[in-house]
């Protein structure tokens, strides 16, 4: 059971996001109202440390568990996909205050309603792939 390590990382991630209140709708609302530093501090500190971490990956200072260089796959290019897709995502994030990670964490809290949101998320993914050839990317 090699994947057990990912279950453990997931458990830790679920606890961290719960305890830091990232999965509370109120915190996301407060963020979009610019009324608290909390979410900006979380994302900002994660990214600043991430930039430092990734520079160690790129220089080969930190290698993976097999001793190989860690390669970070670049994101797909395209202005329209990023700005339009991002805006659509933001509308949903602002409405329900949960992005895909928090949705599953909230499910673990026993929030029944979030199963409807996850169902919607799956529909959205199906819908995107059904019409993607018609969308600008």
């Amino acid at each position: 059971m090699k994947n057990i390590r990912f279950i453990i990382l997931g458990i830790l991630f679920g606890i961290i996001l719960s305890k830091a209140e990232v999965i509370s709708w109120y915190r996301i609302y407060e963020m979009f109202k610019f009324q608290s530093f909390h979410m900006y501090g979380i994302i900002g500190s994660a990214v600043i440390l991430g930039v430092i971490l990734f520079s160690f990956f790129k220089k080969g200072v930190i290698k993976n568990y097999l001793g190989e260089k860690i390669i970070i796959e670049p994101k797909k290019k395209g202005f329209y996909r990023a700005i339009i897709g991002g805006t659509i995502f933001g509308l949903g994030w602002g409405l329900i205050g949960a992005c895909p990670g928090p949705m599953f964490i909230l499910l673990g809290r026993g929030v029944l309603s979030i199963s409807i949101v996850i169902f919607g998320g799956l529909l959205g993914v199906l819908f995107y792939h059904a019409i993607k050839h018609k969308l600008p990317h």
């Binding site: 990912f6 679920g14 606890i15 305890k19 009324q35 608290s36 994030w93 169902f119 919607g120 959205g124």
Partner: protein, 185 residues
Amino acid sequence: MDFILEPWPWYVGGPLITLIMFFLYYFGKKFGISSNLESICAMGGAGKLHEFFAFDWKKNSWNLMFIVGTVIGGFIAFKFMTPDQAIALNPQTVSDLADIGFQNAGAQYLPEELFGLEALLSIKGGVILVIAGILVGFGARYAGGCTSGHAITGLSNLELPSLIAVIGFFIGGLIMTWLILPLLF
């Protein structure tokens, strides 16, 4: 031990997220949650509906295990680590929310107006939940990532597409919070 039970400040939460990202890369994987939605569709047989979903979802089973873990983590945090479920919001946020129809904001972890049983069983509440999910799922895969893939990983890798996507996240979130939410409630 008290610290564990209190809400964790941003300077604890943020660095710990980076630590999780480090371990995922260290174990030869990546940090991106929304692609799991595609794996779940593939697992559910969506390959019959669209060729895209005919991929072998088992190669992503590590990431599916990760989200199974997050469900367990959410349960543990809720049951054993959060004696006080209140969120210490900015008083201005509480009063703004009262103005648009959200009572006692922050008294509980989530607003009843969106997540409560009454909302779930109403047509309006149910439609909001489904539409929000569709927007998040559609938008994440269109943009090529969500908060984990773009805002954390992509920005850490200094990627321009991720910066544009995060600007989009904010355009959408601001429109929803300032313009649409007040009309909905």
